[in-house]
């Protein structure tokens, strides 16, 4: 698989069930072979909510989050790449180069 970079395009997969609690989401990818829910909490909630159903680059995503958190986008880009790659491995998002 291609490495993750600032210009990697990502979007939410369709068919995700989501329940919302205060500062927390539980998500379940309905099309995955398994039936495994995942909890997203803390700043992960902002990241998840910023990932749209149309493709955007990780760099755009970082910019958006940085505006919400009032911080330098370059300081969070690494964390966002890590997080987004985990979401991808759980079948919750898809990459533009693999869609």
């Amino acid at each position: 698989m291609t490495a993750w970079a600032r210009d990697t395009m990502v979007r939410r997969r369709e068919n995700i069930a989501i329940v919302t609690r205060t500062n927390q989401l539980v998500v379940l990818a309905l099309d995955q072979p398994s039936c495994e829910p995942f909890s997203i909490s803390g700043s992960g909630v902002d990241v998840w909510q910023s990932i749209e159903s149309s493709f955007q680059s990780i760099s755009d995503l970082s910019n958006r989050i940085s505006r919400i958190a009032h911080i330098d986008p370059r300081s969070i880009e690494g964390d966002i790449i890590n997080f987004v790659s985990v979401l991808f491995s759980k079948g919750l998002i898809e990459r533009g180069d693999e869609a």
Binding site: N15, I16, A17, I18, V19, R21, V26, L28, L30, D31, P33, S34, C35, E36, P37, F38, S39, I40, S41, G42, S43, G44, D46, V47, I65, A69, I71, I76, D79, I80, N82, F83, V86, L87, K90
Partner: protein, 315 residues
């Protein structure tokens, strides 16, 4: 900003979240296979304001006739496994398969029919499906019976084994809720007639104000329903199985009724403590309960068997 993270929720999934997610998931999987399925009771009944919100422990899904195996196969691939169900006689044909998952705190009960709807099963399902309502659960569209049908579903659930399960107090609450929601006696009796539930739901319909005379020549299904309603345990089912068995098989059946195999006993009474002591206590309690129930059960089952024999001769 902290490091964003994602956690696998294997043990800490909140039950309400689990019910909503499992409801969305099983509905989606059924739809993906092209299987029509309706979610019964649960959070939908609360949304329809037919009962107070309460924490469910399982998702009840009614699957269209003939599609149960396909759905179960699909769920098993995703890690849901059938809960052990002892092979014992039942007065009413077993209506559901319970599926459990190691990482989920709730079960999925997949029903191939809903007891008490005595009409042709395919016609009943089609009727429920044609009058379905749609809801968003965890962001996913799911289907459920409309309010009037769900009222009957809840009523039949309460009336199925009132002697054993003590749910009769749900009936007045349900009647009040249905009236509050503007459901009319005409709507209820019309739907009950279509689904073959005027007699099985009779106590509910009467309380609602409907005039439903008792069936003077009840069908076998209705008589079994009534026999089941009076059951606390499985004494009546065992007695009926013995009555129907050929003479040479009767002693073995009686023995198994009194002393079921350990796996069966534990399946029936999961609360039994581990080890032989638990089993011995379970058998002893079973024999004591059986003796208590036998006089009443014996006369009811004899009457049932006699009517069957009489009907058999007339045919």
């Amino acid at each position: 900003m902290g490091v964003p993270h994602l956690t696998e929720r294997k043990t800490a999934l909140h039950q309400r979240d689990a019910i909503n997610l499992a409801t969305a998931w099983v509905s989606y999987r059924a739809a993906r296979l092209g299987i029509r399925a309706l979610i019964l009771k649960g959070p939908i009944a609360s949304r329809q304001r037919l009962r107070a919100e309460k924490l469910s422990t399982d998702v009840d899904i009614l699957v269209e006739p003939g599609q149960m195996k396909r759905l179960i196969d699909e769920l098993q691939v995703a890690g849901w496994q059938e809960r052990f169900s002892p092979a014992i006689p039942w007065l009413i044909e077993l209506h559901s398969i319970t599926l459990i998952h190691a990482n989920w705190p709730v079960d999925i009960d997949a029903h191939h029919y809903w007891p008490g709807f005595l009409g042709d099963r395919r016609a009943v399902f089609d009727d429920l499906w044609n009058a379905r309502s749609s809801h968003q659960i965890a962001g996913v569209t799911i289907f459920a019976p409309d309010r009037v049908s769900n009222c009957l579903v809840l009523a039949l659930h309460a009336l199925r084994r009132p002697a054993a399960e003590g749910r009769l107090d749900e009936i007045p609450t349900l009647v009040d809720a249905a009236k509050r929601e503007g459901i009319t006696v005409h709507e209820l009796t019309f739907r009950a007639r279509a689904l073959g539930a005027t007699q099985t739901a009779r106590p509910f319909l009467q309380r609602f104000g409907a005039e439903i005379p008792a069936e003077m020549s009840p069908s076998d299904d209705l008589r079994l329903w009534n026999l089941n309603a009076n059951s606390r345990g499985h004494t009546r089912a065992w007695l009926l199985a013995v009555a129907r068995a050929p003479w040479q098989r009767k002693p073995a059946l009686l023995f198994r009724a009194a002393l079921p195999r350990p796996t069966e006993l534990r399946g029936l009474h999961p609360e039994l403590e581990a080890g032989w002591l638990g089993l011995i206590r379970g058998w002893a309690r079973r024999i004591a309960n059986g003796f208590r129930e036998i006089p009443g059960a014996f006369s009811e089952v004899s009457r049932f068997a006699t009517i069957n024999r009489t009907r058999g001769r007339k045919r």
